[in-house]
Symmetry: C2
């Protein structure tokens, strides 16, 4: 269980969960989803789609949109189940940068308990990193101005990320307690309000 590099597969299943898509369009959305650095190549995408197809997790059907020939992919029932498993299964790779980003992007379709575990796991891992870097392993990596500045900036970035995670965790906890108290009278799918709106 818990394939290590199933990151791309999971992202594809997640996007197809929202709507049927063809490869070219899928790629654009994937690039937005985890495009922070990576630009997915067709040489990765199409073979991945073929693989998911063979595994029966998605199905294809030809379509003629406008005047263009397209191969549109849909999630099968098996695919839907696999997505649910994969998103719930908090394996040891779920805290990695990319893996976390993708899981977070699909949080709306993730149980509240799993959300909390993922957020807390991620926070623990970042804290670990921060401690490791702060202590510096004993030695100083060449004390020139640039190395020092890089270190300073990296630490600051990780600290910011940690603060963000803490806000999210607090929101989740508050929402969970609110749900427990009112025992969900309307059966509304719990969706707390992550990080009060400071959009510039």
């Amino acid at each position: 269980m818990s394939r290590r590099g199933a990151t791309l597969d999971l992202a594809i299943l997640g996007l197809l969960h929202e709507s049927d898509l063809h490869g070219y369009e899928l790629r654009k959305r994937l690039n937005l989803l985890f495009g922070w650095g990576r630009v997915l190549s067709y040489g990765s995408l199409y073979p991945a789609l073929k693989k998911l197809l063979r595994a029966g997790l998605i199905s294809e059907h030809d379509a003629e949109v406008g005047r263009r020939r397209k191969i549109v992919y849909s999630l099968t029932e098996a695919g839907r189940e696999r997505f649910a498993e994969e998103v719930t299964d908090v394996g040891p790779t779920a805290w990695e940068d990319e893996s976390f980003g993708i899981r977070f992007a699909f949080f709306a379709r993730t149980e509240a308990g799993v959300r909390l575990r993922i957020l807390e796991g991620r926070r623990a891992r970042l804290q670990e990193r921060l401690d490791r870097v702060r202590s510096g392993g004993g030695f100083t990596l060449s004390s020139d101005t640039y190395a020092a500045e890089l270190r300073r900036h990296s630490i600051e970035s990780v600290e910011r990320e940690l603060a963000w995670l803490t806000t999210l965790i607090d929101d989740e906890r508050r929402a969970e307690q609110a749900a427990e108290q009112s025992e969900d009278p309307q059966g509304s799918p719990s969706q707390p309000n992550p990080s009060g709106g400071n959009q510039s």
Copy 2:
């Protein structure tokens, strides 16, 4: 020229530039250098060392430190030259996250002009990313609270990175002009003061 994935090689050469090291110790330092996420495995490191050895860029000699047998690696003259080339050669991969981080870490041994080009190239690339994400390709990636929050947070992070780069670029420019005016009377290796000290 400009091997695409020479990231690890460059990092090894850079670290050996500062002091001779054996594999195990090298790995620890590499993990601090670009350990933001990645933890380098021995299965990558040792073959990479063998490769550099075969290429004549480093040399090995056995050592007995304390009571432990170690294989200590040193940079050869060819290795020193290669490092200088590689760091100066601003290929199309120099703006990638990891590649940039490593180049920046060794900025103290990089010409002022090259430093500026790398910083500006990096900024341009991040700005591009930001624009792409801001415009969102036309559609909205599922407008649930979590996806929106992820987007918000990602944009904020990139903006912060951009601001940092701008500060660094300004510092470099100021230092360059100062050096031009005084025409380097003492031949001091130009090293500006990156980002005025806001260490918490």
